[in-house]
């Protein structure tokens, strides 16, 4: 099981690197925000999988809960800022 979890972690890291291509040279700033959201979700999933794969790991789940909350608030606030502060 640990082998399969490691393979999934590797694929997640490849996905994150591929998303950083969209993050760095996305045509518009909305694309960059979208790539940031995808990277956030993938990082949360990678943290949870790392917690399941490593027996001695602890506090990774708490960190990923905080990461999910902060990522969502960051996404909403930045979307409103990009929209010029109007009511969305």
């Amino acid at each position: 099981m640990s082998t399969i979890l490691t393979v999934i972690l590797g694929v997640l890291i490849i996905i994150i690197v591929a998303m950083s291509q969209r993050l760095f040279n996305g045509p518009t700033s909305y694309d960059r925000m979208n790539a940031l959201g995808v990277i956030g979700a993938d990082v949360i999933l990678a943290l949870v999988i790392f917690d399941a794969a490593d027996e001695g790991a602890y506090m990774y789940l708490d960190i990923s809960i905080a990461y999910a909350l902060l990522g969502f608030i960051c996404s909403v606030i930045l979307a409103k800022y990009l929209g010029g502060g109007k009511t969305i």
Binding site: I15, R22, V38, D42, V48, D62, S75, G83
Partner: protein, 138 residues
């Protein structure tokens, strides 16, 4: 293949859920890289990313069993289940309210994109964000 034969039933079911989720995550990443427009890309990330994350979290909950950690994973999956579609929706709505141009086959030359023989679109009505087209011509 020795890895797969040494698993019990719980781990096999967890593996199936994890691999199904991974398929959706890879599909979402390919869509993010290949689709032509911001709206198409936000569609790819909003739907498939959420489904893939949900399947992976369900697999991890099955793998952990009925423990306190499993409850925490359920909490995180509920957070992602709410936050990911709401974030995509807010981004798309913010872009649409600020007149972000909509990708259409006519405006971007369907023959070049799809490899079809060139057709004459001059008699057709303009499709999509017609305000933008008029301002560009003026």
């Amino acid at each position: 293949m020795n890895v797969l034969f040494s698993l019990n039933l719980q781990e096999v079911i967890a593996c199936l859920f994890l691999l199904a989720g991974l398929v959706f995550l890879i599909g979402s990443a390919i869509g993010m890289l290949r689709l032509p427009d911001f709206y198409c890309r936000v569609h790819a990330s909003g739907n498939s990313e959420t489904l893939g994350c949900m399947l992976c979290f369900i697999g991890l909950m099955i793998y952990e069993g009925a423990t306190f950690n499993s409850l925490k994973i359920g909490m995180i999956s509920l957070l992602i289940f709410a936050a990911n579609p709401i974030g995509s929706h807010i981004l798309g709505k913010s872009a649409y309210k600020n007149d972000h141009p909509v990708w259409t086959l006519q405006a971007h030359d369907a023959a070049k994109v799809l490899g079809m023989p060139p057709t004459d679109h001059s008699a057709d009505e303009p499709v999509g964000n017609s305000d933008q087209v008029e301002t560009e011509e003026a």
